[in-house]
Symmetry: C2
Subunit: 123 residues, 2 copies
């Protein structure tokens, strides 16, 4: 168990990768196209810090290209933890600002992770 | 029905967004950190073109930052269609090259999309 835990911690230390617990767990896939970007980076950083302190938070992965199109996937232990984060007061304000100010369009999908693997090592 | 179809087509016309069919359907969340990037963009483009001709393919969303960390999410009607794509001969060769040549690390997660929404309009 200790070796497994160390391996997972080492993995989560890889730039940008979330930890890899045993499924099942939940993923919130958020894809967005930014218009105005003023203030966005600070808000996003603050939301990541807040989310990471929520019960049930596993990790988050995020990438955005120079065209303004980005994907953020956050991972949660269970339905209750992601619903609780959705309803967090500061997060709700950020969601409202996002709709009014930053996002030209977005899609949010909630999914249940059923299996996972990593590489190139360990296959 | 026609209006719904048009709405979906208009949505998929938004830069980078995949269509938004009624759940459930499957998502393959692939996060990767690139090392050597030579030849990668051409392979990725070819794989997107190939995947989009597979039965059961819904769409794909992809973003990569300047740091080389990227997320690609492909969406599939059912388990059979994503397994069939995984076993496609040309795709298998690309996966092998990816492990040997391009990816410093990757995580692949297979998930079942349970619900989805989009915005800022249509909420």
């Amino acid at each position: 168990m200790a070796a497994g835990k160390e391996a997972r911690e080492a993995e989560s230390g890889n730039a940008g990768f979330a930890p890899l617990p045993d499924p099942p767990y939940h993923a919130v896939i958020f894809t967005s196209l930014l218009g105005d970007q003023e203030g966005y980076a600070q808000m996003a950083e603050r939301m990541t810090a807040l989310a990471s302190r929520q019960p049930g938070f596993i990790g988050v992965e995020s990438a955005r290209g120079a065209d303004g199109f980005g994907i953020t996937v956050s991972y949660w232990r269970d339905e209750a933890s992601l619903l609780s984060w959705k309803a967090d007061a500061e997060h709700m304000l950020a969601q409202k600002l996002g709709r009014e100010r930053w996002y030209r369009h977005y899609i949010l999908r909630v999914a249940l992770v059923e299996r996972a693997c990593s590489g190139p090592r360990g296959r």
